[in-house]
Symmetry: D2
């Protein structure tokens, strides 16, 4: 029996609805639950994760936030803009009016919350007008997400992270080609190849490296990193993610799932299963290269991960600086 969810890519509508029904966690943690599969990440799990800190070395998994980022403006997703409200040049020229040598710099940012390393919150994607727990998507209006805003995740996303480095296990020179659909069978192979520290179970945060960012960040303007073709999880992994009861998942690509999308005439169909039905928080645009290099060297693929979203009231996504400690 396959660990994969098999599907007919020409029957888009039925396949989405079938998977949605099979892998739906609505009501599992009560009608008013706001964090979905993050419920799997218990204090016991977090305590176990603490034991993975063996050297005290910390890694940021964040890509930079600046104008040189990968966004190209699709649906107004631009790169972040930093503004200096007060500068050292003003201070040097004594323009600020503070007494006795005091002076300061102050700054401001304007950015899509999904512009760089990010979490998709539970209000970020819908399935036929439904959001997490079967609520109507109209609960997310021009004022924000009135039910599952990212602020609800603020204290929770800290636990055991496991890096699955498909770039190394199934790719060439550490990179999967664009369009490579990672299936459950590949997941099992990757875990097998990486060894015991890669075992994944309930409450884990799975970190997927494809090597796509490695390739794109060297290109002028990141090439087609945003919206273009990319390796990523197949629609077939919905079964594995559901049954394994992971707490969250993240990857080094723009859109997590494989692109071109597998179902005919679909747009990010795995998102439709993962976020509103499964209640799974999805991370995107994570920079995993430094961590992956370290894991390849010491063979330890699990670590203590803190990936705290900003506590923005009513937001459906959040920038994040995920910190892995080994």
């Amino acid at each position: 029996m396959s660990a994969d969810h098999e599907f007919d890519r020409t029957d888009t509508d039925n396949e989405i609805q079938r998977a949605a029904k099979l892998y739906r966690n609505w009501g599992r943690w009560g009608e008013d639950d706001k964090i979905g599969t993050m419920n799997f990440l218990t204090e016991e799990k977090r305590l176990e994760a603490a034991k993975l800190i063996r050297r005290g070395k910390s890694f940021t998994l964040s890509a930079p936030f600046d104008q040189e980022g990968p966004q190209k403006g699709w649906r107004r997703r631009t790169n972040p803009t930093l503004f200096m409200m007060d500068t050292g040049t003003d201070a040097s020229l004594k323009r600020q009016g503070f007494p006795h040598g005091a002076g300061g710099a102050d700054d401001f940012i304007s950015m899509p919350l999904s512009c760089s390393t990010q979490w998709d919150g539970l209000g970020h994607f819908f399935d036929y007008g439904k959001t997490w727990n079967g609520k109507d998507s109209s609960n997310i209006d021009g004022m924000g997400d009135h039910g599952t805003g990212i602020e609800n995740m603020a204290p929770h996303i800290v636990g055991r992270g496991v890096l699955l480095d498909f770039g190394r296990s199934h790719g060439t020179n550490g990179e999967l080609p664009d369009g490579f659909a990672i299936r459950a069978e590949h997941i099992l192979e990757c875990i097998e190849a990486q060894g015991a520290s890669s075992k994944v179970g309930r409450g884990d945060i799975v970190i997927v490296r494809t090597g796509h960012m490695t390739r794109c960040k060297k290109l002028p303007n990141w090439g087609t990193f945003a919206m273009g073709d990319a390796p990523g999880f197949s629609f077939s992994t919905s079964k594995w993610m559901f049954e394994t009861e992971i707490a969250a998942v993240a990857s080094d690509t723009w859109g997590f799932e494989v692109r071109p999308n597998e179902l005919e005439n679909s747009f990010q169909p795995l998102h439709q299963i993962m976020i509103p039905n499964m209640g799974l928080t999805v991370g995107e645009i994570w920079d995993l290269d430094e961590l992956a290099e370290d894991c390849a060297q010491d063979g330890q693929y699990d670590f203590f991960l803190t990936a705290a979203p900003m506590r923005i009231t009513g937001a459906v996504s959040s920038p994040v600086n995920p910190i892995a400690v080994k």
Copy 2:
């Protein structure tokens, strides 16, 4: 001999320059150092901190980021504004054009980087035209901080946090009055009162609770939380912070140090010592109430703290969602 740095509050200029000279770490970690006292937070220290995780319980120390925040517009410091670029209402009314039941919400934020729970980076404050390591403050221009941008801190701020709850040790109903200057003698008393888990040493991140936020967040529009009078560290603590070799410090007030400022006709004079001279990163507007309640109950005041700033290229400050794990 006092642990406090004694000073004459009428001799502002000389006192600032004297303290600056006494507690200056310029060159200590090389001419091109970008993280200052964060160098004290070593891997060994971080490894020790991991042992403080005993229950797996996590706490956010972030205040909310929304229009109901404490800012009043001083030097254009406003509260953050969330914009919805795509909404569930649009999706419900089938306005988005995605196929087969797909739909999404997307959001955008505009905010001063110092609007809510934050780190002041090493380029945030100057002393007579000098910034960290003696560099000229003009290195921070309209394009950002070309030397000590907050991105340099991205992987590092994870270690042992110690809560010093002066609200409980020296206040009434858990709150210090406005204008209360916390001196080194109070620090020692607080540590004594709280017990062994509160011992502070090299590489620790000191978290200062005054109760000021507890009081102000209940007031309409936060009262005068921003820019008004507040309890906070005295100028005299510069000696203790320097000699103790802490890695960073943060508090539950708008401006960390006591206000009104102690030195006549000065503006945040302790900042002038801490940031550009000592190289000490300072956190402000942290919400410590839930953590403090827990510490008061179990008597354990130290914890594993991850306080990862956003990796914003060239920024002088950053919002942060600090996560304490006990």
Copy 3:
């Protein structure tokens, strides 16, 4: 027979629906019309208006756009924020890298389009889910106004302006008290008092001075200018505006119509008639004091008015710098 539309203020729902039906221009200029009563402002009308230029003196009717403005944050309506992206201080310190003495300053603005002197476009207000010409309000979604965006008004708003200075004709010291409901009878009295140059007819742009801004701009933070009580047009003027066939109307208050609103438990009910039903563009927060002083002196109350909205694709409102030339 009264020029006023009489109404029962306790019968809100019926009164709104009755007036909406009576003063509705749907279909008058075709099903796809995008400019409503601006159609009354013909080239002939504009040519007549040109003859009103007798001295060549120009007046701005714009209030300032800056952080000191009247907004208090209702529904995220804040004052505008100006950011300097490049500064003269940077240039003075030779930080910009331009050759041979070249240097520049560059700036950026973030603002609600309704933050200061503005036009409400035809997509700005709805009546029971309907917008101008009977279209469904859902045509205005997260991407903007797909039907009647303000860009459609870009070339048109130039013609004869007539100042009706109710502050002087019916007020004390040039100011109407808050809550003063200007009715059609007052309009006729004002025109009578001001003389022949104040006659209003088809295609005119009526400029209403109440003195409310005069009073509020002297108060700390503009007092309750935004959202508070104010003088303004009564619900009863809907008849006069409709029958007179004016092209547009503007005033020196935050919300044009009298506040508190006259109909019980209503919110800006006259807007509901004027914008979606009549197709009338409404200007707010216009600073009329300098112009009014001049008109009071020379007795000429009409002038050539250019009030060009920004050509922002899909916007429902626009800042404007209206220029009157006498």
Copy 4:
């Protein structure tokens, strides 16, 4: 004797300094003047201009303000972003909470003030650290322009506009090629070719059509409209502009002057003469095609022009919707 200012393109530094001295208006209107050559636009001049209104037809000379604009991010100059704060979809789904069928849409914009059709104010460009009237460029700091902010221009820019259509007089199919340097001799030829209505004198606003925008707005993403090669005024026209005593000048290109710049290793050297020395306000990215077509048809090249900048306190540039009336 030539109407052109002749120069040696290899002697950049000397040529800039020579022209700066020759065409400098510092002190001409007093030490505290804030509007430069706009002083030439007198009430008499404006009165004359009113006589040019013969048909009552109005034209917008503004390009659209939206994400499809020409900017590519140079020095953070992006295209404008419109955000909807309240939408009709929210209203349709009764999410807004207004009573009795009331509902509204509200919007917000974030944009560089130079992103589309604009004025460069007198604080926008420097010459060896000097700005208009010989003031130090450090008067323009992180808080804005403390001397010559664009708000000073708010009531003034209304007068006689003259279109010089070099695309038609010297180009092919109405377009000059990139790199074409328009010299004074071409100006005189164009005026000669266009006839009496094109005569330019003191106080006029000269509108320069090159056809560059016509070409670029048809290209994907506007091609290299921003920052690329373009036709434009030659450095040699500084003499003609100075002697003719025009009030302002504007064109249909990104940077007004010819690109590549004529002086070796220079950046916009004509700006260095025009703005800080001559005190001449410069318009860029104006869309002149519809007006030019009309002028070509009726042979009348002058018109009543209102080009009112927004009244933004301390800004160095401003978006504008220029309205020509013939």
